[in-house]
């Protein structure tokens, strides 16, 4: 007599340690094997796009902080780039360099969190996270020195940045840049050769090149699948055409490649910061002359940058008043997780967790 089996349904989240926020997955399981998955988003919806319609262009900047709260600096930059495109504002050179330095620091910090929590999802009991936090703390201290905030910076302004760097910033940054390669080497030494880590992540959750392009994935997730695409090179915004750096790509697009692309990008970001420190003018304005309640001409603009998690875009429609008529956010992680179903089916519950972790999602950005 054959044994009767039935698949059963499991809710992962919205309150679950490994969903990185309030994300919910409805799984259909056959034993431990995932046969179907339905992601349910919206638990962190705060209506940022609608709120933006009732605020002035400067007041929207703190709202963008709350999108990807592990990379607030780049959210600010993306929004400001969009508004500057809309109003045709020229940003002073020194401000551009400050933006680039801060974006790259933010990228290092965000990637460190991604790798740390990815290992946590693999089952390493918080040690990787705490080691990553040690260095992230130094980056946060640098931001704190400049803008007095540690998580939601609200530092960028339309036409530049809110204030110039203090005198002690550059020596502290220099010290960080000198120390960091040693720590990255330490992380690689601890993680890269670990047999259990390799067994868990090599070949797991493969995102093929074609699928990645078809869904419109971006950021490390896309590059890990072997697509050489980085907005900093492909469509250099700001002053990124002045720097010499490589686009890091993976080979097969599994969890290991996504981890390794992030580790390599940290090194590339350090290279960019080093060059920016050399090229940056010592003095000069850091903010274009933009009034507090400025009214951009009626029209529309789409500004986008390469945020740590991918291609982050802001689409702004202006009707000539002090508030935008419509603001739409193009979030990279929401686009990336649309591939989740194809990636996890046939894998086990434990794999689902690490595949989801390797996508590096932040719910603030997905739900907005």
């Amino acid at each position: 007599m054959p044994i009767k089996t039935e698949s059963f349904y499991l809710n992962v989240g919205p309150q679950h340690p490994s969903t990185h926020g309030v994300f919910r997955l409805r799984l259909a399981l056959d034993g431990e094997v995932v046969t179907d998955v339905e992601p349910i988003v919206g638990y962190l919806h705060r209506g940022i796009e609608k709120l933006a319609e009732t605020r002035t262009y400067t007041q929207i900047i703190p709202l963008t902080d709350r999108l990807d709260y592990l990379a607030s600096m780049t959210d600010n930059v993306a929004y400001c780039v969009a508004v500057e495109k809309l109003a045709g504002i020229k940003v002073p050179e020194r401000a551009e360099y400050i933006r680039i330095i801060f974006s790259e620091l933010m990228r290092i910090s965000s990637h460190m969190m991604a790798v740390g929590f990815y290992l946590n999802d693999c089952g390493a009991f918080f040690t990787p996270v705490l080691y990553m936090w040690r260095e992230r703390e130094k980056i946060i201290d640098l931001f704190d020195m400049v803008c007095g905030q540690r998580l939601l910076y609200n530092y960028m302004r339309v036409g530049g940045v809110s204030q110039d760097l203090p005198d002690e910033f550059m020596p502290a940054l220099k010290k960080f840049i000198d120390e960091m390669p040693r720590y990255i080497g330490e992380y690689n030494q601890l993680i890269k050769q670990n047999e259990i880590f390799l067994a868990r992540s090599k070949g797991v959750g493969i995102l093929p090149k074609e699928t990645a392009i078809n869904i419109g994935a971006s950021g490390p997730v896309l590059r890990a699948s072997g697509v050489k695409w980085d907005l900093r090179k492909m469509d250099p915004y700001s002053l990124y055409d002045r720097f010499d750096f490589d686009i890091c790509t993976g080979e097969v697009g599994d969890c290991y490649d996504r981890y390794w692309v992030r580790m390599q990008e940290m090194t590339q970001s350090l290279r960019i910061i080093e060059q920016a420190m050399k090229q940056m003018p010592d003095k000069g304005p850091v903010r274009a002359d933009v009034p507090q309640f400025f009214r951009p001409p009626a029209g529309e603009a789409y500004g986008y940058i390469e945020a740590p998690k991918g291609n982050l875009g802001f689409y702004i429609v202006s009707d000539g008043s002090i508030a935008p008529y419509r603001l739409h956010i193009f979030p990279p992680t929401l686009i990336n997780i649309t591939a989740l179903r194809d990636m996890v089916i046939g894998w086990k519950v434990a794999d689902l967790i690490i595949i989801f972790g390797s996508m590096d999602v932040v719910l603030g950005e997905i739900d907005r």
Partner: protein, 370 residues
Amino acid sequence: MTLLDQFQLILKSQNWPDWAVYLVPALVGILIIISVVLTVVIVYIWWERRLISRFQIRLGPNRCGPEGIFQPIATAVKILLKEDIVPEKADKLIHFIAPITVFVPILLIFAVVPFGEGAILADLNVGIVYVVAISSISVIGIFMAAWASGNKYSFISGMRSIAQMVSYEIPVVLSIVGIALVAGSFSMLKIVEAQSIPFIILQPLGFLIFFLGSLAEMNRSPFDLLEADSEIVAGYHIEYSGMKFAMFYLGEYGVALAYAGIITTLFLSGWQGPLLPPVIWFLIKVMMVFSVIVWIRSTLPRFRVDQLTAFAWKFMLPLAVINLVLIAIEVLVIPTAMQWIMILVNFGFAAVLILLWSKLFTLGGGRVEV
């Protein structure tokens, strides 16, 4: 002659009635063992939290008393004051019995752990077999808890627990047989007395298999799939709170203490050591074993469930069998006085076998077509 027998003789010479001569020393012994074990478990919890925080470049609990030594007591008081919640869909009776079924066998293990020369509650002539038999009972407790909770996460955990225990018991028992062959006895006292050279040096491969197997048996990282908090949140004790949860918590550390004690007895020459009194030596060695366990926990990621069983059947079982055959031949061929030959041969074999198997063996698994 154990301390318990001596106590009985003293009572007999005082003309106590027969039933009292039998009962009183046993009860006193049990009380001493339970209080010592629970105290050491509390020290253990503190030690793990402090040590793991050092591995993780943080301070750990340091507010309650000097170096935070009273933190486990504060935790215990907090847990005692918690509401005892039983889910509506739970099987109430089984839900109640399960923590006891997990905790009691762990206490029973300590009956045959020799804390010092003669300081053993029951010197069974099959001591180590008794340990293997008793410790598998708590698996039933875990499965009962998982099933009775009526929670899907704990259900997955219960399924995992059965697969894990069935797989790992076999290599563990096979490596114990290797010990028994050399010591010529299953009795814990005899095994310790046979170790003029600690068996970790005499049988490195056996030690490795036993150590990894016992990590799996006590659900410690990297085999902590039962409570994998990043996957199935807390596994089988997800629906437990208050004192019932404390039973699981104590049981988890109690079993770690028990296995650390057994590893010390079987492989690290038990209480033997120069200068210091035997009990101190025993506790030092137990703490060393436990510190290694904590070290592993803070370092390694977790196996996946299919890799876990693959590791047991494809890697540990063949090596355990080869180890057993090797030891058996050596015991037959090499005279006792020439044990250094055995050490050389065993270390050579251990190195070659592990290198060879790590090349041959793959964890396998992967995507299942659905």
